[in-house]
């Protein structure tokens, strides 16, 4: 059945991470009408989930929330969260997107974000947002600065006991909500679908994801966030405050066998950043970074790296060959010593962080025939002079969706994608002027 609802915009942005938000803002400020479609229940992408950001060490929330709020309140921007993009195609002069609004089982117009339902719900569910370090409920608000502040229900874990509906002061809980299909037509689109981390369990020699106190770098971001799962850094295995913490660099990158031949660009810098934050939070802890090359190439980054060295963070040039569980929940790292006396060295740490790489979050296959490179990132057809141009006319891309990059580079690229999209819109309106 053809969906009844059809909406028209000048531009459609897929993905509400920092790339999508910036592109939308730059278009909306030029007076174009923009729709942002996001698959998550909140906008903000990875950035809103970080602790502080290099190289300025601003709190990530402090920089992200204003952009989230500015988008949410912009008169030219409409935001659609918790949506599944099922098709994105060029349709004559337009881009046509088929979208399914996933049911939240909560009426978005009625919910006031008070979290009464969450407190009322009796089911504890591992909280993926917090690295599974704590629980959420079967009905919940993703986190305190999510936008929109609307609850959603996870029916897989719901016992249908009816408590949430009973406690909701506005009668917003709706157990019968159904997915709803609609169509967005726009003249241009920006793909800003971002990344996910390379998996923890990829390498058998790194324990296949089964080692206690071996966590991912995003998990560490949550531990360091001021409103994180423990509100301090302790070992997930037993709550011990760690005396020694280590980073394994290039844990998912620069490795052809994993299908990730490229360097992910941000993991050196985020490891250094986290190490600095850790030495602030745990002044007595030893912090070691095992690396192949430190890639601190952005503005102010090398200085940041040198500061970290001066603070006493230990940098060891080594490729970690093996990671194992040691006694007392310690993590043992084995590597070939290059700089000291040679030979195989083993060291144990309380807590070890895998500096995982970036792979694209979205696989367009079957949804959109935009061309991708062999490494699965969206392909830029004018890579040097106009990196945001894709294989589909009028469709542009920005952020990690077209290759790993940090926030600064992502924001610049989002501005560039907005520029390409606005030129495209301008040319449609004034065919002669183009």
């Amino acid at each position: 059945m053809e969906p009844s609802r059809e909406l028209n915009f000048d531009a459609l942005v897929i993905g509400g991470g920092i790339a999508g938000l910036q592109a939308a803002l730059d278009l909306a400020d030029q007076n174009f009408k923009v729709a942002i479609v996001e698959k998550d229940a909140t906008i903000g992408g990875k950035m809103i989930r970080l602790s502080k950001v290099f190289p300025t060490l601003d709190c990530a929330s402090c920089i992200t929330t204003p952009k989230m709020a500015a988008s949410a309140h912009h008169e030219n921007i409409s935001i659609f969260t918790y949506c599944d993009l099922t098709s994105l195609k060029r349709d004559g002069q337009e881009i046509k997107a088929d979208i399914t609004q996933m049911p939240r089982y909560v009426d978005a117009d009625k919910c006031i974000g008070c979290r009464q339902c969450e407190y009322g719900c009796p089911v504890y569910v591992p909280n993926h947002e917090e690295g599974n370090f704590n629980f959420r409920k079967a009905i919940y608000i993703p986190f305190s600065n999510a936008i929109p502040q609307i609850a959603l229900m996870d029916v897989e874990n719901c016992s249908l006991c009816g408590k949430c509906a009973k406690v909701c002061p506005t009668g917003a809980v709706d157990y019968f909500q159904q997915p709803e299909d609609f169509v967005i037509r726009a003249k241009t689109a920006v793909l800003a679908t971002g990344f996910k981390l390379t998996p923890m369990d990829q390498k058998p020699q790194y324990g296949g994801g089964k080692i206690q106190n071996l966590i991912s770098s995003l998990d560490m971001e949550r531990l360091l966030a001021p409103h994180g799962p423990y509100q301090r850094v302790i070992r997930p295995s037993d709550g011990k405050e760690p005396d020694s913490i280590a980073y394994v660099q290039c844990a998912g990158s620069r490795d052809k066998t994993l299908g990730v031949p490229y360097c992910s660009r941000v993991c050196c810098m985020y490891a250094i950043k986290q190490a600095m934050l850790l030495s602030g939070a745990l002044p007595l802890a030893d912090i070691t970074i095992y690396y192949m090359d430190i890639r601190a190439f952005g503005k102010g980054y090398e200085q940041f790296f040198q500061n970290a060295k001066a603070m006493g963070i230990e940098f060891v040039k080594a490729k970690i060959a093996k990671i194992e569980q040691a006694d007392n929940q310690y993590v043992r790292l084995r590597y070939e010593d290059q700089e000291g006396n040679g030979g195989v060295v083993e060291r144990e740490h309380d807590l070890v962080v895998m500096s995982l790489g970036m792979v694209p979050d979205w696989n367009p296959a079957g949804v959109c025939d935009v061309a991708c490179d062999t490494d699965a990132f969206i392909k830029s057809t004018i890579p040097s002079l106009a990196p945001t141009v894709t294989s589909i006319e009028g469709v542009f891309a920005a952020g990690v969706a077209i290759g790993p990059k940090d926030i600064v580079d992502t924001i610049a690229e989002a501005g560039a994608a907005a520029m390409e999209a606005s030129k495209y819109l301008n040319a449609l309106e004034n065919p002669k002027a183009a």
Binding site: D58, S61, P66, N145, Y301, Q338, P383, D409, N426
Partner: protein
């Protein structure tokens, strides 16, 4: 009746909002206590705290209090106003209140990041109380609207400048592209193939420059410099001087071009795209422009005399020189030859003029150090190494590096290719850089010795025919423009953006934008992204035909002004003039402020003997109220 009007006549009811900033503030300041203290201050209607005031729920807190009529003034105590003042003004405006009935107290940078414990809480209380005192005195203001020229001036005709000019023109904005040399293309003209795409730099420049020349909305001024700049966003007045080329480098390039019989409209390798005929006489003109885009790019670092033997040995050259030699090298031998000399072994040294460390590296004549990484030299060096190995299999290559920074997609392959090509890698620590010495006997002119950390710190010596220094980027010399326009420059001497994440392509000077390597080292694709982002910002600024400026400008109280004129003399930006006005039937001189020019600096306030001039939003009365509040306890 709008709330704007009522706010002034009603009793002030101040809403105070204190931010935890996640913990940034609340770890050191007892924010609850501050709120309790503030609740007792006369005129405070509500005092709330929130985890993140800048978040949506935080902003809504303010908006609800406004809408319910509880408050008619707002004080937010949080981070520096440079971060979020506009955020909160926006929130207030959306709640239909005048956004200038707002005062910001910085209790993060000025309190929690520098003080701890009770002292921090006490200081925060003082600062917020002072902000409340000022808020009670605030008046509703309206932003100043000025017409904006739909015209932008792009300074610099390198890749970024070309990209920005083209983008602006394609959005219907007239562009003046100003380039000091006779050529377009900038530093990219000195490259052969670019990393990582392998495209020819010549093709990229030809492509962009030809489009720029063909666009009727762009006027290209080569051999031109800005000699004067006045005005403000929307209305810059830029004086341009066009002159016959006089720099040695330009003259040499022009001779080469003439020798080849090249005409304007074509790219000439290692010179650039000759845009138009070079002028034979000097001329000046004035442009009216709404925005300025800086795309003044970089120069390559010139090694000091003796740095790795440079300047003292003809066999020590820089990477750009090597690239040029190799492009001119036509011989098909199995060894690289340079100036007729067979190169059997070459040493490439990374990080020359980059990643300098205080205490290890010597500062330059101005006392500066290039502490940053130049970002592009690793990949360029690896590419050169592989090219030597592939074209000249009998020439051996050694690379001396600190970290190989082939970041991002498509770059790691250059590292791998070099390894497969049997380039030998040696790694040095900055404390022990490779030593280059001249050999008086033997087969080779130079010896390079290094403590190689890849082989347990062993000292390794290699005799070589050539040493190539991978020189980094330094910003172009634009001290004249920096002085003229009062531009912020960072410790690294590149132009300094307002905030790397919030406003990455803007300078603090409203209407002046940043494109490319004048801001920091970048490669071509990154510079193009930055240029396009700057063009997008300029387009949003200019597309409405007007710009809005903050109303914090000087205002003359005509009932007090006696026409003394001290303010006119004191104003550094000529924003005040004397006007003849009628007072009681008599013609007298009185001061008048041009609000668009006024920067709100307040020097006029300090010199006026009659106290007849004040800066709106920062009046003497408001300052006094703040001081009184601070000294009250």
């Amino acid at each position: 009746m709008s709330t704007k009007k009522t706010a002034e006549t009603e009793e002030p009811r101040v809403g105070v909002y204190i931010c935890h900033c996640g913990g940034n503030i609340s770890d050191h300041v007892d924010v609850k206590k501050v709120a309790e203290n503030l609740e007792k201050v006369p005129g405070v209607a509500v005092a709330h705290t929130n985890m993140f005031m800048c978040s949506d729920p935080g902003q809504e807190l303010i908006q609800e209090d406004i809408k319910s009529g509880k408050i008619n003034r707002v004080v937010v105590a949080s981070c520096a106003p440079s971060l979020h003042e506009t955020t909160f003004r926006g929130a207030i405006k959306r709640a239909d209140m005048n956004p200038y009935l707002y005062e910001h107290a910085n209790i993060r940078e000025q309190v929690s990041w520098v003080h701890h414990g009770e002292a921090a809480t006490a200081k925060a209380t003082s600062l917020v109380t002072a902000a409340v005192a000022k808020a009670k005195e605030l008046e509703a203001l309206d932003p100043i609207k000025v017409d904006a020229a739909r015209h932008a001036t792009v300074i610099g005709g390198g890749i970024a400048g070309l990209r920005a000019a083209l983008d602006l023109a394609q959005r219907g904005i007239e562009v003046a592209l100003i380039e000091k040399s006779p050529f377009l293309g900038g530093q990219a003209a000195n490259l052969e193939r670019i990393v990582p795409t392998g495209e020819r730099a010549a093709d990229l420049i030809q492509d962009l420059a030809a489009k720029v020349m063909a666009d009727s909305r762009i006027r290209v001024y080569t051999c031109s410099r800005i000699v004067k700049s006045e005005g403000y966003v929307g209305n810059f007045k830029i004086t341009l001087k066009t002159q016959p080329p006089d720099s040695q480098a330009d003259l040499e390039k022009l001779q080469e071009v003439a020798a080849k019989g090249e005409k304007p409209g074509r790219f000439v390798p290692f010179a650039g795209f000759l845009a138009v005929k070079v002028p034979t006489t000097a001329s000046e003109q004035v442009l009216d422009s709404g925005a300025i885009v800086f795309a003044t790019g970089f120069s390559t670092y010139t090694p000091r005399d003796g740095e790795f033997g440079y300047g003292q040995n003809p066999e020590v050259i820089t990477l750009p020189q090597l690239i040029r030699f190799m492009s001119q090298e036509k011989s098909r031998g199995r060894s690289l030859t340079i100036n007729g000399r067979t190169i059997r072994r070459v040493a490439l040294v990374h990080c020359v003029g980059s990643r300098q460390i205080p205490g290890i590296h010597e500062p330059d004549a101005d006392g500066g150090l290039n502490e940053y990484c130049s970002r592009t030299c690793c990949a360029a060096t690896l590419q050169a190494a592989s090219e030597i190995r592939e074209r000249y299999p009998l020439t051996h290559v050694l690379e001396y590096y600190r970290d190989i920074r082939t970041y991002g997609r498509g770059q790691e392959e250059f590292y791998e290719r070099a390894s497969e090509n049997h380039v030998m890698f040696l790694r040095y620590e900055p404390e022990d850089p490779p030593q280059v010495e001249r050999l008086s006997k033997g087969n080779f002119p130079l010896r390079v010795t290094v403590k190689d950390t890849l082989t347990f710190g062993e000292a390794l010596s290699a005799d070589v025919d050539l040493v190539v220094l991978s020189v980094g980027m330094v910003p172009s010399r634009i001290a004249d423009l920096v002085d003229m326009m009062k531009l912020p420059v960072g410790a690294d001497r590149f132009l300094q953006e307002v905030h790397p994440k919030l406003r990455p392509v803007e300078l603090a000077n409203t209407g002046i934008l940043l494109a490319g390597t004048c801001q920091a080292p970048m490669d071509i694709s990154e510079a193009c992204n930055a240029a396009a982002a700057a063009a997008a910002k300029a387009t949003s600024l200019l597309s409405k035909g007007y710009v809005e400026l903050d109303p914090f400008v000087a205002q003359v109280d005509l009932s007090r002004c006696k026409g003394n004129g001290a303010c006119v003399a004191a104003c550094t930006v000529d924003a005040i003039v004397m006007q003849t006005v009628e007072v009681d039937g008599q013609s007298v001189e009185r001061a008048e402020v041009n609000p668009a020019l006024c920067t709100g600096c307040g020097v006029c306030v300090a010199v006026c003997p009659e106290n007849a001039i004040d800066v709106k939003g920062w009046t003497l009365e408001q300052y006094e109220a703040m001081v009184d509040a601070i000294v009250a306890d």
